[in-house]
Subunit: 343 residues, 4 copies
């Protein structure tokens, strides 16, 4: 933490800040500059983080130095985290695609989709049982019934299944039926849910909040990691900006940024970023080129009849075609090292 | 709903869209323009809202006409909603201030604050028992113990109390101890929580999500209203923008916009918008001038020692002074009519 | 400037940074922390500002300490800047309203409006001669002819006139005809134009760029001030955010923030922020309550027939009514001190 | 244009709107819905675009149907626009890289860089002579002297040169010395400059404004096209969002979106988006994968000593390496058709 004093701060104000920092067990280093004095605070920054320093008399601004996340940080990990998903792997060069319908609409459509995405090379099936919907009048998913179908699809098709959980009270039930718990963008800072999901022991696919900075995102992951569950995947799915031509703005630079800051695998969801089918393919290719460890893609056997997100779902052929292109692309990319990129 | 066809759409594509709309029970009105054809869809727009129309061949864009919220809309209400808060009222000219510490840190500090804000004219006491914190390493509130203190403060001081609920599993407990359930900005789209809070029957203070449009905000309120609970207050507390000089950007225009669109009372939280003490006063005054029905203000007996949000908390004197200014300001404003402002 | 070294930075990397800083004439203060080492750089921060420090080996981040603007800063001024506008004054408690049509559409409409806003208490008339339009097919203003009309209106009505300048080649011409040069939001970082406008010696009304941070805004003002022209007014007119219900998001907190940081007067344009007539009044009231020194309001004798911005223009009666409300409001506000608000 | 009437609009209000539309030469189509009446306006939408319709009594909202740009639109062009740049081509499958220093700092460094980027496969050299700088105290470029150096570099190295123009008064001078005029992000809506640049007859590289929607961007291009100059390249360089970990947020989806909407070539500048060297490579790869027609990359022989943008500049080796990777990547991508992607 660096405390910057106002240009007109008095000696007494400066001393009061120094005393406060010392009292909290940190060591202040005062550097008197031409215009401003800065006080570097050496020690456990966490002790200062929540305290009101900005409003102490004479303080102009407070700059954080340490990163607020620890377990999510590359510095605290021996190496990159690699997750097993059935026979597939995610992380550090082990590329994977998870695909399936936005909502599980029925047994048949789920099995058809699951078989098709498996045959095209996906390592896991996604499918929504509980759907978070902006309007209370929208279809909210088939719920427990859909969980049964997902469990059945796993057995019949042989791929692990991913599904979203919305409520702390459902974590146990969802964890019983599926292999990966998804935390959606609207719940990225539902800390009670992060905690429960972590405690389930299941891998967690954590989607970035629509307005979450990358620091916020890593701190949300930290909640899960802090339960002792190290199986976390970070999923960039677009952020909310002034540009509304697309459903969300895919923050493609988040991929290499996160790869540098954290050991966790980075997934990209091109479907929610795009919001429309014709943009899914270029965004998927871009994500892989930028270094994503995995993709999460919405696929539906008949998108024009889908109950949710049909506009952004690929049909089975489009998905198979995309998988071919992704493979060609990955073959052309230089191997990605597990070391953080040097500058 | 208006469907706009691409300039190069074929007659067959147009017919397919018309058929789809008809099949769904709406009446299509086709207007052939110079460059584009538009298809107005008359009927229950909700049936179309979730369907994939954008990706039908030849469709360029889909424009919504009806508002997606109903119960929250002025059109569906007989008049403005006015809530009772103890001896105070909120809504339609009945101005009120709710104030208190960010976190309940102990019995004494809570009682001191509660008495002071009551004496200064506040109608309710706010105080956090469960705190949503960006980092898992931050102080998370005193939990159930703080709820007991809040209930006791209500009894001793005679003001209703407001506290945030974070988890569906805590709704009953919180509702037992406090008078108003607050849903925080991070949970504005935690739909399970909105539902439970609504079912509790307690008034709900709903904070706008950091990146929620005003439509999203009203739809979140709709979740609560849809449980049959009509006691909802909408709280603007700043949105996330590129400007980081302030903690959040107070969207002051949201106040008159919401007053026009909805019958629900509009509250402003200047403390979280400002993020620093010296900006709280001007934002509070601006909120009242813009027509807010109520304010939610963080007050602490010793902000420089507060465990959370000390930088943005007023001390007891500053709050009392602010209350005096607010009263003078309200006296000078022309009376606000309950009718939606005409243009 | 504070340079933060990566946790894994080597001693040699640290030394290289220290050497670089010393070589540039600044004094490095090294504080070795538990996780990170920070290097405070004491001296003329401007020398470091443009240099590539972030990409030196081992550097994690670079934090600025000094403010990049000088002449615009409170610290560099003896007191608040107060501008004379005809018989009116702007700045530090001397409140003023500038009003008039978006575009000068003709002699008669301009004179009618000018007389009406004068009679209602405005101290200056605004009117567009050169209009910046998003589309090349939109009405671009009457140009030089409108400048003549503005000069004539000044003579006949006795109020100074404000008009926008878009092109360095027009600065002399516009300065010859009007009393205040407006620099629009799209040209806030048209540095050549800022420079020419400054050199004209006329007061400059500088509008905030749609995506300009407050630091960017003050640096744009610095360009004008740096020409030796101290007559600059800063105009908040809304920023671009994800919320599109309003034309722009009025950043109301910018008002008290700027009042604290700079000695320059702060103007608010509620018309462009609102984009619709019924929101102009509450935003104008909020701006005054937040401490604005002046308002800039679009007024038209027949807004429903206006060639530009009719949707957000007040008619003459609405403006007169607003002026009455503003006066009542200002009477109720505690006097604003010229001292920067203490925290 | 579709005009949506308020639910409570009267028959007289509806008629007044219909009359107004008719009076303007368009044909209104009224569709009476359950809650709202919509009025489709068939005819030349441009006539309505600037008029105040939103504030007519009873009008709730106004929805645009036609696109505001014409010459930039795919619909108005026979096929994709392909530009010649020396021996290279840009547009529709003809991929190109333009590279060079942020600022021309001297003859030697420019020639060294120009030769290196040519040898690595770039088709044009970029170099700043006039630099737009946020602070007036920053290095503003070598100006006319740098233009001479650029002209000389073209002659000696045999590549066309690209340089930014900031002021209408400099267009002729810059056009005399360089092959492509760059309009920077801060001047995207400097309409006088767009006009002059267009009239110069030189190809124009137009950078997207930091807060420009894609519609705004295409309308800015329309200004250039409207002068009769068809040689326009659109350059995505990152937009301003709440995320500040990167200098800007690269809007990667803008690439396929623009490829669908316009016939103009789409360029990506990964350097300004990234703001730091280690992110340039992944963003460049992503841009190519997403379908960009060209890249604009900052390269410097000694980035750690660069006077501007050193943190985001590649050195000569890093650039050559990147060119190799780009080539491999392009080889792996399926050929891009010139047809607009079907949905």
């Amino acid at each position: 933490m660096v405390i910057v004093m106002r240009a007109d701060a008095t000696e007494a104000q400066r001393r009061a800040v120094v005393d406060r920092v010392t009292e909290l067990g940190l060591t202040p280093h005062v550097s008197v500059g031409e215009h401003r004095t800065i006080i570097g605070c050496i020690g456990d920054e966490d002790r200062l983080r929540e305290l009101p320093l900005l409003s102490l008399a004479g303080v102009e601004t407070v700059l954080e130095v340490d990163k607020p996340y620890k377990l999510a940080s590359r510095e605290y990990a021996a190496g990159p985290t690699i997750l097993s998903l059935g026979t597939g792997m995610v992380g550090d060069g082990a590329f994977a695609v998870m695909a399936g319908p936005c909502s599980v609409e029925g047994r048949e459509m789920l099995l058809t989709t699951a078989r098709a995405v498996r045959d095209a090379g996906a390592v896991a099936v996604r499918g929504g049982a509980f759907k978070p919907r902006t309007s209370p009048y929208s279809f909210q998913g088939l719920g427990p019934e859909a969980l049964e179908m997902l469990a059945q699809a796993r057995d019949e098709v042989g791929l692990p299944v991913v599904s979203e959980v919305l409520d702390t009270r459902h974590v146990a039930l969802v964890a019983e039926h599926v292999d990966v718990l998804q935390i959606g963008t609207r719940n990225m800072q539902n800390f009670a849910l992060l905690n429960e999901a972590g405690l389930s022991g299941k891998p967690v696919l954590l989607k970035r909040g629509m307005s979450a900075t990358l620091d916020d995102f890593l701190l949300a992951a930290e909640y899960v990691l802090n339960t002792g569950n190290r199986h976390v995947m970070l999923c960039e799915r677009g952020i909310r900006t002034f540009e509304r031509a697309m459903r969300n703005t895919l923050d493609i630079a988040a991929v290499p940024f996160l790869k540098r800051e954290t050991h966790l695998p980075v997934v990209v969801d091109p479907s929610h970023a795009a919001g429309r089918r014709d943009l899914v393919r270029p965004l998927a290719l871009a994500a892989v080129a930028a270094g994503a460890d995995a993709l999460l893609v919405e696929v539906h056997p008949d998108p024009d009849r889908a109950r949710t997100d049909g506009d952004q779902s690929l049909n089975l052929n489009q998905f198979a075609e995309l998988m071919g292109e992704l493979e060609a692309l990955r073959g052309a990319l230089a191997p990605v090292s597990s070391a953080p990129p040097s500058r």
